[in-house]
Symmetry: C2
Subunit: 358 residues, 2 copies
């Protein structure tokens, strides 16, 4: 039995408490300053309102101002914030951390620095820690196809834990693994984080096709959907995941494994990224769609904004050509430039030898 803290009481962070509870750990669930209502519900009713489930046994909820108490003596800290909270959690954890602790992140995203250089979110978090501490805690990330509500429902789930340290991975796998929470391990945290971050962006294109169907009047007289268009975008998304993973030194095979095609598949089954894409496909600009979805965390838009900085920088630096990443460039035009335009199918697949268009 270990003492484990989850910081960030959103759906995914809290969902990890279910396998941890089943393994008998002492779990402290710490809400951020945005999670006060969730923590109140957890304390008063033992119900997580967004997961719509009772907290599992052994999970004690804490408000953010109790974080020092909550983190006392813990061996593992789950970073359960979204991509907008990564700097914050690094700064918040910094004064509380002890040498030997492990931080494992469920956050999906990448951050483009001022020069457009892409950073993994585990590195962004680590960069907020004092240098001396940075070398004494270990960082890990969770990726792979996992809808939080299904994990909390103890549905069969496959995930990949990534960390530079194999010892850290063993500790984590032992703490989290249950008969329904199937854990694989990788030292390629770069490939893992890139794939799981990008899939949110590319899900916009799948949702776009569904929205376009609505815009054009829904199913036709013979019941035809627009799955062919969804699938065309899905394939291009997988290809661009592979390309960026390869460029950043990750395992390009992840594109057709659980972190890539697997996580992309599950994300395309529904959720906020699909919904945002649908609004764009129906003809709304991103600004309009953002208002319609006010209050929601839109990780898909967040990663597109970051790629909107990274792609031009990579192009100028000669790392990629102007015809590479046509789907991401298109998404940048929709989300960052607020344009309305159709999916540019005829620009796809141009670097999957030996497929050619002309």
């Amino acid at each position: 039995m270990s003492k484990i803290a989850i910081v960030g009481a959103g759906m995914m962070g809290t969902a990890t408490s279910f396998p941890l509870s089943d393994n008998g750990h002492d779990i402290r669930l710490v809400g951020t300053h945005l999670d006060s209502e969730i923590i109140r519900s957890c304390q008063e009713k033992q119900v997580h309102p967004r997961l719509r489930r009772n907290l599992p046994i052994g999970v004690k909820p804490y408000y953010i101002d109790q974080i020092v108490e909550a983190l006392d003596g813990v061996e593992i800290i789950v970073s359960g914030v979204n991509s907008h909270g990564v700097h914050w959690i690094g700064q918040t954890l910094a004064p509380c951390l002890k040498p030997g602790q492990i931080i494992i992140s469920v956050t999906k995203g990448l951050e483009a620095g001022p020069d457009g250089h892409l950073l993994l979110l585990t590195d962004v978090l680590a960069n907020e820690l004092p240098l001396s501490l940075r070398e004494q805690v270990q960082m890990a990330a969770i990726g792979g196809p996992c809808i939080a509500g299904e994990l909390a429902g103890r549905r069969e789930t496959v995930v990949i834990f990534g960390s530079a340290s194999s010892e850290c991975l063993d500790t984590l796998a032992n703490a989290f693994r249950t008969p329904y929470y199937h854990i694989w391990k990788t030292n390629d945290i770069t490939g893992l984080e890139i794939c799981v971050a990008l899939k949110n962006a590319y899900t916009l294109a799948v949702g776009y096709a569904a929205g376009l169907l609505d815009k054009q009047g829904g199913l036709d007289c013979a019941g035809a959907h627009m799955y062919n268009l969804e699938a065309a975008a899905f394939a291009q998304g997988c290809m661009e995941m592979e390309h960026l993973t390869r460029l950043m030194g990750g395992t390009s095979a992840f594109a057709y494994g659980p972190p890539g095609a697997g996580d992309f598949y599950v994300t395309a089954q529904g959720g906020r990224s699909v919904e945002l894409g649908k609004l764009l496909g129906k003809g709304h600009t991103y600004q309009e769609a953002r208002l319609i979805m006010a209050g929601e965390t839109l990780e898909a838009a967040a990663i597109v904004h970051q790629m909107g900085k990274a792609i031009p920088a990579m192009t100028v630096n000669g790392i990629i050509s102007e015809t590479d990443f046509p789907l991401m460039r298109y998404l940048v035009r929709l989300v960052v430039n607020n344009e309305r335009l159709e999916i540019p199918l005829d620009t796809f697949y141009n670097y999957l030898n030996p497929i050619i268009r002309q």
Copy 2:
């Protein structure tokens, strides 16, 4: 304008008549001996009953006994049969073919020879032709994410045309390409045919997860599906597509392009392979499911049967290890051996370095 015959009046063969019609070709749609009702409806009402659409202009329906007349002077022949009809169409076309004609197949599958060696269906068809003729006609295949009903509805669709001959591909692309039918070309017909054949098998596993959800009472109190399990199977399916493609000398990158992940995605959106998988997931044996779906062509079961011959042969010959292709081996046990058993998640991803389980 060309003269083009489509032999096999099923949904996919007939769907290709829509872009061909839009390009102004003279099209002859020839039903097989199983398609008489379809041809009758096409002749009497100009309606294709399974596509639930009017035939496009320029398409003339023929019964099988009119095939000599129908094939007279055609430049391109679309083979629209299913995998069970490949020997038949080769034998049927043989006496009618003329040097210089092109045969393009929409058929998805592979065939294991007596020694378990896998053959492409375009080769199976060609092997039915006299040797002298075999060198004077060109073979091609269509793969990629295309639901027939959407193509017939002129929805945006991406496909890959494959042939050893680039000249043949140019002729075909010129004949078929329309603003909604987006055609890419490849000389790697091996990689193309393998991916699009296997995706039908792996879709059984996605359907299985959906059926298991039903068996376990459907959505739980918080609305949780079993998409995590579907996605875990989806990723393993993509990985096994890559593996077989590589073993047979095809382009392994197809696994995350339109022939692999793309075609798999669209197939998993619904259809007979999903339905068959659902029945298995609900707890039916394959024999029971086959009776429930009596009369339906089950390409998913057909390819699993072929792989049930190929996998043991490849294992005995040392081409693969006993732990390779765990998902296909599982599907063989369900479909060929008629067993009931759960998806063996913990055997997956064992050859995607650097992901490890233990």
